[in-house]
């Protein structure tokens, strides 16, 4: 335990955490709790076979979503991998539409077509969850090219795992983004494992932020168990990017409490390691901070808890009661062209 706390202190971002106001703290708490409860409920639904296929949960990593939420504007664009419920919810997709998506219902955020790996929302500038490891790294870079092309002040957040950081696509993207000074914020969510493979086993370079230095890209590690530190690091990076200086790379150190997907017993790690991280649980810690700073009373916090609980219960009910899509929808959305002549034999 002591070791992990010390390590997370060591990697806590440079610069001082600016004072964050009460509303932000309460918002962080709410969004993290929403993600946590949403995913706990989805795991329960999975065990009842109401959700099928893959289900990669974000539990343990919620502080990153919280810090992103407060540090980004609504016009900023974001793309990530398949462990993406938290990012979708953070962006403002409703619990109803996300739960319905997991259930494969027509009322889902992508009409039951994407499931757990692929929420998308144009309205919320959410460019989706991608199931091919590393694929979103050049895509996020291209989204940034479009912003620069249109001369906006928006930045594009491109998120990926520690495993994805070893894909060649990252190196090509970093190089072009830096050469062309694209407004892209790369975030590696280092949760220590890619399926059963620990970070140490994938490279000689253990501190992933260091790969940015080969491109002279500003790069740094961040303590990802703390919404304050995530917020602060992203805000600083965003300022740099918006001023036209080009990309920025943050390695946000975090931990996933559950297995890779529902079928993974996670035998490759120790219980102690898991418990050490749970001691740093961002939701617990944020709750305590709010109470310590007297931003809210215990009673007020319980009211938030109850409200989120009710929201998730309602989402579950909504998902359960919604209709499945029509099978004829299979022939929709493959082409924009409406009368595309499919082979129908």
């Amino acid at each position: 335990m002591a070791e992990i706390v010390a390590k997370s202190k060591k990697i806590s971002s440079k610069g001082k955490t600016k004072a964050v106001d009460k509303a932000t703290y309460l918002d962080w708490y709410e969004v993290m709790l929403r993600i946590r409860r949403f995913e706990e409920k989805s795991l329960m639904a999975y065990s009842k076979q109401l959700i099928r296929g893959f289900l990669h949960v974000y539990i343990g990593q919620e502080a990153i979503a919280a810090g992103l939420k407060s540090a980004l504007t609504k016009e900023d664009k974001i793309v990530t991998a398949y462990r993406q419920h938290g990012i979708g919810l953070m962006r403002g997709l409703s619990s109803d539409s996300c739960m319905a998506e997991l259930f494969g219902k027509a009322t889902g955020c992508v009409k039951g077509k994407g499931g757990s790996m692929h929420f998308f929302s144009k309205e919320h500038n959410y460019f989706g969850g991608n199931g091919i490891v590393g694929a979103q790294i050049p895509i996020g870079t291209g989204m940034a090219l479009a912003e620069k092309y249109r001369e906006t002040k928006n930045l594009c957040v491109t998120m990926f795992g520690d495993g994805a950081a070893r894909q060649g696509a990252l190196y090509e993207s970093f190089n072009m983004a830096m050469t062309w000074k694209l407004p892209v914020l790369y975030i590696c969510e280092n949760n220590k494992y890619a399926m059963g493979t620990s970070v140490e086993r994938t490279s000689n370079v253990q501190e992933i932020y260091k790969v940015g230095s080969a491109f002279e890209m500003p790069s740094e590690p961040v303590d990802g168990m703390s919404p304050e530190k995530v917020h602060e690091a992203i805000s600083r990076a965003a300022e740099h990017i918006r001023s036209g200086k080009g990309p920025y790379f943050l390695e946000i150190n975090t931990y996933r409490y559950r297995g890779h997907s529902v079928s993974d017993p996670a035998k490759y790690r120790t219980k102690d390691e898991l418990n050490d991280y749970k001691e740093l649980d961002p939701i617990e810690v944020t709750r305590k901070t709010i109470l310590d700073k007297k931003f809210a009373t215990e009673k007020e916090m319980e009211a938030i808890d109850a409200r989120i609980e009710a929201e998730i219960e309602a989402a579950y009910k909504f998902a359960e009661e919604s209709d499945y899509p029509m099978s004829s929808e299979l022939y929709e959305d493959n082409y924009v062209q409406k009368d595309y002549p499919y082979i129908m034999d």
């Binding site: 099928r52 296929g53 893959f54 494969g104 219902k105 039951g112 077509k113 994407g114 499931g115 790996m117 692929h118 991608n130 199931g131 091919i132 490891v133 590393g134 495993g163 994805a164 070893r166 894909q167 060649g168 890619a194 399926m195 059963g196 493979t197 086993r201 994938t202 490279s203 490759y268 499945y324 899509p325 029509m326 099978s327 004829s328 929808e329 299979l330 022939y331 493959n334 499919y342 082979i343 129908m344 034999d345």
Partner: protein, 328 residues
């Protein structure tokens, strides 16, 4: 002597036996060593052969496929496992531009004895990116041989032949059928590459298929038998080279053919077979060759889409009745 084992263990035995036989054979891929394989095909191999010969790679398909190609050109016999063929798409450059072409480019000096293998096809509600088949993409490329099978004895014998083959080979397994059981002879069985197998003899219609669609074809044949229609079921096992002879011979007997292929219809394996048959067995045909494929679309997540998308016995039965003019 034979015993009943599943596809996973049959493939594992082939890897084990070939690694024991030839020191130049090694296995690399994501999670193949410490995790014993994402689908446990390589279970126990790390313990037995050590990390020199059972190598966990980072997630870097293009890189490790190319590393396999280089090692093969330089005297080794790599087996490169893709967690699924969907991810092998990242490595197609090395497979198509290098593994397939090195022999030609070097005028016969450098061959590339490598096996690329992993599961192919839809496996439940895994959505668009995780449900694809690439047999026809790879079979389109001269220089490669393509195997796609699920019968445990075939898989073992073909994998062993593939490892010993001097040309590059792509071998497709099935995520959903690693637990599928069959009779597998003990010891050194080799199944020849390029030979189909008649799984069931029949006289009224030939149903051709491969990989997990074989089970759909057989189910349809069972149902058809109850209605007095005798279907011959052929398992291609190898896609390239195609066993032209077995297919033509069967049509000469049955005069009708239905191809069941999980791939998309456009320019697929089913299209190639239909061409071969109309060209070389035209005079024997009593009806057009018909095919059942997955829908000409991406496969979304919800179960209704999976049901609508994939070939099933009902669709095969309907097609058989069409070519035997029994629909009314």
């Amino acid at each position: 002597m034979s015993r009943i084992i599943n596809l996973r263990d049959a493939l594992g035995e082939a890897l084990d036996e070939e690694m024991a036989r030839d020191e130049k054979v090694f296995l690399m891929g994501e999670e193949v060593a410490e995790y014993n394989g994402a689908y446990k095909v390589s279970k126990g191999l790390l313990d037995k052969y050590g990390e020199k010969r059972v190598i966990d790679t980072p997630i870097a398909e293009l890189g490790f496929a190319g590393i396999g190609v280089g090692a093969a050109m330089n005297g080794l016999r790599p087996i490169v496992e893709f967690m699924t063929w969907n991810f092998a798409v990242l490595a197609f450059d090395q497979i198509v531009n290098n593994a397939a072409k090195t022999l030609s480019q070097s005028a016969g000096q450098f061959n590339c004895p490598i096996v690329f293998r992993g599961p192919s096809g839809a496996a439940g509600q895994l959505a668009q990116q995780h449900s694809q088949t690439f047999e026809s993409w790879l079979a389109n490329c001269p220089g490669l041989k393509v195997i796609s099978c699920i019968e445990p004895a075939d898989a073992k014998g073909l994998l062993k032949s593939a490892i010993r083959d001097d040309d590059p080979i792509c071998l497709m397994e099935s995520e959903q059928l690693y637990g599928y059981k069959g009779d597998v002879p003990e010891g050194d069985i080799l199944v020849p590459i390029g030979k189909a197998r008649v799984r069931r003899e029949g006289t009224d219609v030939t149903i051709v298929s491969f990989n997990k669609m074989i089970l759909v074809a057989e189910k349809a044949a069972d149902e058809l038998a109850k209605e007095g229609i005798s279907a011959e079921v052929i398992d291609l096992r190898t896609i390239r080279p195609l066993d032209h002879e077995t297919l033509v011979k069967s049509v000469q007997k049955t005069n009708r053919m239905v191809v069941v292929d999980e791939s998309w219809p456009f320019a697929g394996v089913s299209a190639e077979i239909a061409y071969e048959i109309q060209k070389y067995a035209f005079d024997y045909l009593d009806a057009p060759v018909t095919r059942i494929n997955s829908a000409d679309t991406s496969l979304p997540y919800a179960q209704v889409f999976v049901d609508e998308y994939l070939p099933n016995p009902e669709r095969v039965i309907k097609a058989v009745k069409e070519v035997t003019y029994m629909n009314s």
